[in-house]
Amino acid sequence: MSVDARWFRVDLRAWSLVLVAMCTLSVHATTHAQVLRWGADPSGGAPFAFLDPNDPERVIGFEVDIMEEVARRLGRRLELHRADWLALFDSLEAGRCDVLMNGFEVTEERAQVARFGAPYFRFGQQLVVRAADASAVRSLGDLAGRRVAVLNGSQSVEVLREAGFPDDAILQYDDSLAPYTEVALGRADAALAESIIAAYYAAHDPRLAVVEGTFAPGEYAAVTRVADAALAAEIDGALAAMKADGALGEILQRWGLWDDGQSALGTAKGAPQEVFAQARGPSADGTTADDTGGIAVSEPGSGAGSVAGAIAPALLRGAWMTVLLTVIAMPLATAAGLGLALARLSPRGWLRRAAVVYITVVRGTPLLVQIFLVYFSLPVVGQWLFGASPAFVQAVLEPFGGAAFLTLPPLFVGALCLAANYAAYEAEVHRAGLEAVPAVQWDAARALGLSRGQAIRHVIAPQGVRIAMPAIINDLNSLIKDSCLVSVIGVTDLLGVCLGIGKARFSVPEMLVVAAAVYLVLSIAGDLLGSWIERRLRARGFAAPQGSAVRQGNAAKGAEAWV
């Protein structure tokens, strides 16, 4: 048997396995009777919901404690749906989760598109400046003409605008730690955020000073879909009970968040609680505080006392996710790319044009945008298709989630987007490979009586793929690193894990170095795999100039003539 045939067959088998696994996953993900799916961004930061610095396999935070108590009172099992903070509203709309609780301030603008429940926390805005400026800056008024860093999309932006800050003086960042880093580094002069963020991220940093006093109070509330009135009422009921019986007050005390402002929301303080170590930052010895509750993302880690021991399991999980994305996406991209390349060389005009349009559009738009678009539009398309389908089709789709049958797991959507994106690039690589097959090979196949399709399958494609192999291996290397873009839809890949750990442990630069090192290892592994494949191809006599026919002319010309 020829090597190529074996390769394709192995691919096919791997593919059917992956597809079966995906179907199982999607079925699994959509059978959630008594589950409360809570949307939050654990990479967003403390103390809301964040990775336990001492055991990054777990998500902890005061909102975790609140949601667990709410779910317990509703008799439901809590399930965390991760997504980028800015994408959480879309996740809710797309039906990927049922409720958001992740530091969402109640604003009029947001209240028009989603339903805000009763507030569970009252906050104020608080300024943080460099320690050297501590005496000079007492309020926003002292910062006129200077740059202030804030969290992208947060209430602080509006507070600054109303105070008359021009847009170019408001520096927006995608996570809550970055503004403080920027102040410490001198790129911004102050950071404005909710007091609880300032307390968690700035208080421990000797380069920074927290300006006394809070202002522009606001409230956090849980968010549900406008249509989900019943669920909203249930959650509000549970929260009201927790406020009244002191359960909420005790959680806030444990996280060091209690202040008199909370009473204004009707929250009873409850029994006095000790503030546990976690609320003041990661413990130096890496031991895990066991009274923090938290959502276990997986089995607890090894429990080794060292920092490395604490983060290793999460790191491995992240690396495994990156490997999984790559091994799913790359074979798909290679196969689809070959199909696209053949379509480009097809004698049928419409097929050629369709392939060119696909390749042009996909290569011409950012992968990040594609991932976002597909992830959030697929569920909507699915709901529409389901609604427009006749009853028997709906019955068939019912075991696959019914109207949510296209609400696919993030890993699947991420891998699909990577594959679809890379397919466009592989198409060009394959086209170069196919066109490099000598014209005499087309003639020889045709002289033997092979049809065009038979010639492509048995003669041209196997040679074209071999010629394209070094370029494909190169793209494999590139895909390993591009896979980190899927973290925006909540896939906790290597980079996502490292950033999460970095923010939780105040060590983003260190964790980025760790991430870079692991990516380097994965990339070297990819290269080794690639050279092994190329060695095997050479051992089978390919690319031996003596054996191959003279490289003359243009295979595509031969193909065009052969219609």
Binding site: S2, V3, D4, V440, Q441, D443, A444, A445, R446, A447, L448, G449, L450, Q454, H458, V459, P462, Q463, R466, R540, G541, F542, A544, Q546, G547, S548, A549, V550, A561
Partner: protein
């Protein structure tokens, strides 16, 4: 010498082929009978290869009649499939085009390789000498049981020893009754292998002489 008959296996009448505005073939006539070995000589660009491709059906003529029994074409430098072993090269068309099973195609392929004295069935093309590669290419054509064998410059990349191998093979096939048309610019090879020689000049084929 050998078996010749007057039964025409290939007849070409008034063949005209133009490429752009240039007339490459301007009314070619020829006929080849079973057992005959017609060698067509001509300079580079004289249209020899075009004539062969048109006869084999790879290119379409502008005008003219071609009546040809089942033909097999051996391309310049063989055109072996570099990714397939010798055996697979010969078997491919038997399986894919003829639809033969594994056993039948292997039997036919072994027989064809036997006729050109190749026994390294599992070798890859690049592991063979130039002469052996050319003979495998001939066997690949023979496996489909043609009555006319067309060869385009079969010795262009071969040394003297390899050329002699191909000559012997072609003489043997001719003796067994195969009609053979060889295009070449190698005068010595033409002299040794031909029963008839012709020269393509200005798009017209002129018979040189008949040799025994």
């Amino acid at each position: 010498m050998g078996v010749t008959s007057t039964r025409p296996m290939l007849e070409v009448r008034g063949l005209v082929v133009t490429r752009g505005s240039r007339a490459v073939l301007r009314g070619v006539d020829c006929g080849v009978c079973a057992g005959e070995r017609l060698v067509i000589l001509g300079d580079n660009g004289s249209g020899k290869s075009t004539l062969l491709r048109v006869i084999a059906g790879l290119d379409a003529p502008d005008r003219g009649d071609i009546r040809c029994a089942r033909s097999g074409l051996v391309l310049q430098q063989g055109g072996l499939f570099p990714h397939l072993s010798v055996m697979r090269n010969v078997e491919l068309a038997l399986r894919v085009v003829r639809g033969l099973g594994a056993e039948d195609s292997a039997r036919h392929a072994r027989a064809a390789l036997g006729r050109v004295s190749i026994d390294r069935h599992d070798a890859m093309p690049h592991e063979l000498s130039g002469g052996q590669q050319q003979r495998v290419a001939i066997a690949r054509a023979l496996a489909l049981e043609p009555e006319v064998l067309l060869l385009d410059e079969p010795t262009s990349a071969l040394d003297a020893t390899a050329t002699a191998e191909v000559e012997r093979t072609l003489r043997e096939l001719g003796s067994a009754g195969m009609a053979i048309v060889v295009v070449t610019h190698d005068l010595g090879f033409a002299e040794r292998v031909a029963t008839r020689r012709a020269r393509l000049v200005d798009g017209v084929l002129r018979e040189v002489s008949a040799v025994a």
